[in-house]
């Protein structure tokens, strides 16, 4: 029972982990991108579309990643090169991305004459199966090593992002750009390039989360109205919860995932809590985290100081 619950929590947390890792990349380089929801939506459509036509998981993920990079490129051009307001640009990207996904989603539905369904062969390629040997470990095997491949991908990406951020030269440059672009610039870091690279990477990773939603959660059928449904915004919340650290986001996504499936596992006759509060919990907890971290006034684990402000070298 508990294993089943945690297993479901991991599954539910995975798209969030993608979204959060992606958004952390962007925010750590100083750009808060509120377009996560839109980028995920575009990734959801593109991933499904490619899977539907090619039947290849690799191509589906690649396509999703590419559309995420494209969406983030719009954001990057506007905020980095044209120095547009980050909040407004991000919100616009959400409107635009949602529109694009729904528009082409509907086109796909009308062309296929009904609801487009992924092939059995493809569904098999993303099914949950135990990893040989590791999957046979009692309890842990089921819990950790019997997932669909995208779950592992999300964890690997989060770990790579963390190592990159904290242990490499480029990661250091990126953190510096996010904290104080003026100082990074004076030290010879190409601020524009660093921002572009990380916003684009972040967008691609976010879009993978969208692909997860349409490929795995959708059960192989395209559902135009409720694919992403706020998961992008929860990812933004999770960034705060994870204090801008993708490794912590692995744990955080588990917690958030757990809340979203908790209602199906709590024995209803013993604990009576309205369903709405389960889905509300991640946001309440995130708010509390936000308040507590501001009370501690810690510089570590809070939003990068340069986040939200565009950089212009010759500003006087």
């Amino acid at each position: 029972m508990i294993i089943n619950f945690l297993f479901a929590a991991i599954k539910a947390g995975t798209p969030l982990l993608f979204g959060t890792s992606g958004e952390i990349m962007s925010e750590k380089s100083g750009n808060i991108n509120l377009g996560v929801e839109g980028m995920m939506f575009m990734g959801a459509f593109m991933g499904f579309y490619a899977a539907y036509h090619t039947g290849s998981l690799a191509l589906a993920l690649l396509a999703a990643f590419a559309i995420g990079v494209f969406a983030a490129l719009i954001y990057a051009v506007l905020t980095v090169s044209f120095m547009a307001n980050q909040n407004v640009t991000g919100l616009t990207l959400t409107i635009f991305g949602t529109g694009v996904a729904k528009f082409f989603g509907e086109m796909m539905i009308s062309k296929s004459g009904g609801s487009p369904k992924l092939s059995e062969r493809f569904l098999a390629s993303i099914s949950e199966k135990p990893i040989p040997v590791l999957g046979d470990i009692p309890l842990l095997g089921k819990l950790l090593f019997s997932h669909n491949p995208l779950v592992y991908l999300s964890v690997i990406i989060a770990i790579i992002c963390t190592i990159y951020m904290l242990k490499t030269r480029h990661g250091l440059n990126m953190r510096a750009v996010g904290e104080n672009p003026g100082a990074a610039d004076a030290a010879g870091v190409n601020v524009t390039l660093v921002k572009y690279v990380h916003i684009l990477l972040g967008g691609g990773i976010c879009a993978l989360g969208g692909a997860y939603l349409s490929l795995i959660n959708g059960g192989g059928i395209w559902n135009n109205s409720s694919v992403v449904n706020g998961q992008g915004w929860i990812s933004v919340a999770l960034v705060i919860f994870a204090s801008w650290n993708p490794a912590k986001a692995i744990f955080g996504s588990l917690v958030f995932g757990a809340f979203s499936v908790l209602q199906f596992y709590v024995p209803k006759n013993i604990i009576v809590i309205p369903n709405a509060f389960y889905v509300m919990l991640p946001f309440i907890i995130t708010t509390l985290v936000l308040i507590i971290s501001s009370m501690r006034k810690s510089r570590e684990g809070s939003q990068p100081a340069g986040c939200g402000v565009n950089y212009f070298r010759e500003e006087r």
Binding site: R169, L172, R175, A184, A187, V189
Partner: protein
């Protein structure tokens, strides 16, 4: 002169021009520095020194003109280019990432090989700092550092990259005399190793002490380059200002003998509980200018803000005619009928609302006057127009955002407004910082006028020469404590310097004078 031809020019700037909008910051400037030479770049505030150097460091790009480094023509499009050419600049406002350690700040943007940061990278930095006799903890985060520590990190950053052209923008402004001496030792050492050094400053004694040659800028143009050994302070000042200057500041005698403000055992703590002011006691008389001297960050800002009611006090009393102002907000102080004016250091960020015009700024402390919910701007407009006439404020209109005015005019708007409120106590923090000499003297005159009227002036200053002339008494702060209150007529600059660093040797403990 023949000698120069045989030596390699480390830097040559030819006919450099840079404009910002309609303002010409640099107009056809020529400048050169040899290897193994220290050049002082001297000029008043706003003469274009920093702008010119920022074109070497890649922050700005010239509109026209050419740059040669070690004899070869170069284009510097970014700080990256500049670093590659061996130029290292230490900016007046440090370019450090507060959330990172000293080590990571130094390694930032380096072109070394390898993807990963070294685990023991701090050791390497420690070695270098020891080799140059610099003290800094490589693992300390910048936001936990003092100003001089931060400057050390900036110097290390340049040394680490083996820059052979070093530019320092007003490096001594934040240092004690001892730290300045240490810095100069390092600069001389770099000079011996063949580096070219440019030091931006407006302190004449430092120019004469450290430099080989001096290039003087005035209003964005290069007016002269002289050999330091062949010049003197008077000549340099004349070149800088463009005319012979009467350096003496008029000292006014008044006869009031009345105590106005008494501060008793005042202590202020910052958010982390660190005491920025410790047990400060003094009094201010009518018709006197009381100077406050000290190294930057010794508690001057806190002292002003505490008296003005902008900071909560930890303990102590501030008596104005025996009424205690401690714990009162500015609003309450105004309501008590006490007319106190404060000219803060941060003029546009505290004394004025930068995007508002003069009219709206006149309202700042008076908007609440009058009944009803609406703001009345009539009187403010009249006042603004009056100030423009009286103080020769240069502005397109009284509704132009004040941030678009020059530094001197901004200060006139601020000071003008405060003086118009007819204060009994006037607190000024760095009243002439960033102003040219003409504007500075206008400000001194205005202060003397107030003194004549019987106003008590608390003058937070940085130029000791000015303070010795202008003030009646000088109070010296060090680490938030008063290390002495002395009569300006009976003290020398050197004595003040010793008080500023608290050479009594008791590690910052105050001693009564």
């Amino acid at each position: 002169m023949e000698q120069i031809n045989h030596e390699t020019m480390a830097i040559e700037l030819k006919q450099i021009t840079k404009t910002f909008g309609s303002v010409v910051a640099n107009n056809k400037i020529d400048l050169s520095v040899k290897q193994g030479e220290i050049l002082a770049l001297l000029g008043e505030n706003g003469s274009g020194k920093t702008t010119l150097m920022n074109m070497l460091s890649g922050i700005y790009r010239p509109d026209s003109g050419s740059i040669f480094i070690n004899g070869a023509p170069v284009t510097i499009n970014s700080p990256e280019d500049s670093i590659r050419l061996g130029v290292g600049m230490i900016h007046q406002h440090f370019k450090l990432v507060e959330a990172l350690t000293a080590t990571d700040n130094i390694l930032l943007g380096s072109r070394e090989k390898g993807i990963f940061l070294h685990k023991k990278r701090s050791e390497k930095i420690r070695e270098i700092s020891e080799r140059f006799g610099l003290e800094v903890d490589p693992e300390k985060k910048i936001y936990q550092m003092s100003v001089s520590e931060k400057q050390t990190v900036e110097i290390l950053k340049v040394l680490y990259r083996k820059a052979d052209i070093l530019i320092l923008d007003e490096p001594t402004a934040v240092l004690t005399p001892q730290e300045t001496t240490r810095l100069f030792e390092i600069l001389r050492r770099m000079k011996q190793e063949g580096c070219a050094v440019i030091i931006i400053t407006h302190k004449l004694n430092e120019v004469l002490e450290i430099s080989d040659r001096v290039t003087i800028l005035r209003k964005g143009e290069s007016v002269a380059t002289v050999t330091t050994a062949e010049t003197n302070a008077r000549e340099l000042t004349e070149l800088m200002v463009g005319r012979p200057v009467e350096l003496a500041i008029h000292h006014l005698k008044t006869d009031f003998h009345e105590n106005l403000l008494e501060v008793h055992h005042l202590s202020v703590a910052d958010e982390e509980g660190f005491e920025t002011l410790k047990d400060v006691s003094f009094d201010l008389n009518r018709g006197e200018i009381l100077g406050v001297a000290g190294v930057a960050g010794s508690g001057q800002k806190e002292l002003c803000e505490a008296i003005a009611g902008l900071l909560p006090l930890k303990k102590g009393a501030i008596l104005y005619h025996n009424e205690d102002l401690a714990g009162k907000s500015p609003n309450e102080i105004i309501k008590m009928g006490i007319s106190m004016s404060f000219i803060p250091e941060d003029r546009l960020g505290m004394g004025l609302a930068a995007s508002m015009g003069m009219v709206d700024n006149m309202l700042l402390k008076k908007y609440n006057e009058g009944k009803g919910p609406f703001v009345s701007k009539k009187k403010a407009r009249e006042l603004a127009k009056k100030l423009v006439k009286q103080l020769d404020i240069v502005t397109p209109s009284v509704d132009t955002p004040v941030r678009r005015l020059s530094g001197g005019n901004v200060q006139k708007v601020l000071l003008g407004r405060e003086i118009e409120s007819e204060p009994n106590v006037l607190i000024t923090a760095y009243a002439v910082r960033g102003l040219d000499i003409n504007s500075s003297y206008t400000i001194y005159d205005l202060l003397n006028e107030q003194k004549k009227k019987g106003v008590g002036v608390l003058f937070i200053g940085e130029d000791l020469d000015v303070m010795l002339e202008l003030c009646d008494r000088i109070m010296v702060l060090c680490h938030g404590k008063i290390t002495g209150i002395v009569n300006a007529k009976e003290v020398t600059k050197e004595e003040l310097g010793l008080l500023m660093t608290d050479a009594s040797g008791k590690g910052g403990d105050a001693h009564e004078v």
